[in-house]
Symmetry: C2
Subunit: 330 residues, 2 copies
């Protein structure tokens, strides 16, 4: 079955291919009856414009590349949904790349991205530094970063200020006289840890105190569970802050085993809220991060960078969060 082309349509409708092209692209200058004639031919033949050929001719692909950390779909899912939903509106395709650790692989991804001539790339990576983007910026590809504040001629970003979040939350507790606050985190995400640590430290500093309860736990649930099981035999804090739901649950479970009542003896809060926080017992308080919006807004910024070239647009967009107090805090 030969793929039917614009020539076939032209012949069928007895016009030139230029006219067919005009019809496809909704040019105004085509007379109504010939437009109908062409439309019928298109319909009859079941013609679908070849996006690849269009891409070659127009020097743009209407596809953007999305890079997400591998195996991060638990918290990336909504971001992708948001991204794709607005991509659909603007008729963009999304090619998905997953990046593991390691700069070598990142270079591979960038290589294929460059070759595929995407119109832009969105990177979700809270670990990424602006410097690491140089490989990409060299090729003049518009970039939107999700998770890190930065901007530039060809770079935009959408993010949540976790440092501020933690600062405000910590300050609230310090003001209540609660000072035995601990931060539980693994080393999976250094940049995130830094933000959290900065926020809590600043809060302590502003209160004339210093923060020193950073508890580093293993990366996987099982090990961190065992670690905390031991830890809470001899420790207890007024407030424990964790980043992910699994960490909060590990705290919950191990505290219970050590007869630490939550929230009476110890309060627990989870930064990155999830539906599982509401299923745990006691239900875990957390901050609702607007993941869907992070993706949607990122794509929106992308389209602006791509279309409204003249207009000055805001390239650093901070999104807000909502605190959901539940049963693990007083």
């Amino acid at each position: 079955m030969k793929r039917i082309t614009i020539y076939d349509v032209a012949k069928e409708a007895d016009v030139s291919l230029a006219t067919v092209s005009r019809v496809i692209n909704g040019s105004e200058v085509v007379r109504e009856d010939t437009r109908v004639k062409v439309q019928e031919a298109i319909e009859k033949l079941g013609y679908k414009p070849n996006a690849i050929a269009q891409g070659l001719a127009l020097q743009k692909t209407t596809t953007i590349a999305l890079i997400v950390p591998e195996a991060s779909f638990f918290y990336t899912g909504q971001i992708i949904n948001g991204l794709i939903d607005v991509a659909k509106i603007y008729k963009y395709n999304i090619v998905l790349h997953t990046a593991t650790e390691g700069i070598i692989e990142m270079n591979d991804i960038i290589e294929t991205i460059i070759k595929s001539r995407v119109d832009g790339v969105v990177i979700f990576n809270d670990k990424l530094s602006k410097n690491e983007l140089n490989t990409l910026t060299r090729y003049q590809v518009p970039i939107v970063v999700i998770g890190n504040k930065m901007s530039d001629d060809t770079i935009g970003s959408v993010y949540v200020d976790y440092s501020k979040l933690v600062y405000d939350f910590t300050t609230k507790y310090l003001n209540k006289g609660i000072t035995d606050i601990a931060l539980v985190e693994d080393r999976k995400n250094p940049a995130m840890i830094k933000q959290l640590f900065d926020g809590i430290s600043r809060a302590f500093a502003d209160a004339g105190k210093s923060f020193d309860n950073y508890i580093e736990i293993p990366k996987d649930y099982r090990s961190s569970y065992l670690f905390l099981q031991e830890y809470f035999k001899s420790h207890k804090h007024e407030l424990v802050i964790t980043y992910r739901d699994s960490q909060a649950m590990a705290v919950l479970n191990t505290a219970a085993e050590n007869n630490i009542r939550i929230p009476e003896d110890m309060e627990v809060v989870c930064i990155l809220d999830s539906k599982y926080n509401a299923m745990a017992r006691p239900q875990i308080s957390g901050f609702k991060i607007p993941d869907y919006d992070l993706g949607a807004v990122a794509m929106r910024v992308m389209t602006k960078m791509l279309h409204d070239e003249d207009e000055v647009i805001d390239k650093e967009i901070e999104l807000s969060y909502i605190y959901s107090p539940r049963k693990s805090t007083k």
Copy 2:
């Protein structure tokens, strides 16, 4: 900055573009010294072949489309990871499409897929019937379906037989004399419900009994929680089977509130295991579904359909599961 093309390289290396093309594509017929000469030119200019132009010339894009149900990333994440990992190996790009309910949107997606001239499409959709694929098959695009057993000239599939899973599990309990078995499910996924229902019904039938404890619950956690809270005031079963972790947790939580001890008074098992099952208290027994493999194998089948055109390949691949007994069952 002008994008540098194969012509630029040809000029720089003082050869024809045909030769450059040969070097790029690793043709054997190029003399060693000219190959080196060309390579140096490529290096010097930082030339990256334009995949779009290659696509046009070769009539193939080395990209495959992946369609997943929207907002399903919790159980789709690993599938995508597996898919992408083997796609990388074979140098394929993945363009991601999310499908909501509704045939209209599906047609939109298929439309853009056809236009983008992908080499194949992988569909993760346990609701999909072979009939609905016709729109796609008409265009001769190789298809691999994840989650449903089916095959055809241009269709392959990778799946887990949930019906069998439930049949075996139920039979085991029936053999122990446990007959008060209930299936808790919402109506999110009719095809899946059918599989589960079929399996359990067959088991009962083979034991000379009939199954009638299908408990339909609301789709979201909150409502189903309230529903079950009421339900367990007046009901209790020897074994409750749920599909998703959130459903199992709802059962756990509401049972606890009604003083039903698990597993002493009632056992609970979750078909689709997740890490959260191990964090619940009591820990929930479940079946480990090989999601990563589903994706990886699907992509492998795809590449086979694309490359080894002559060779006969197995187009219906059933993957197995592993039972993880934990604390919610005896």
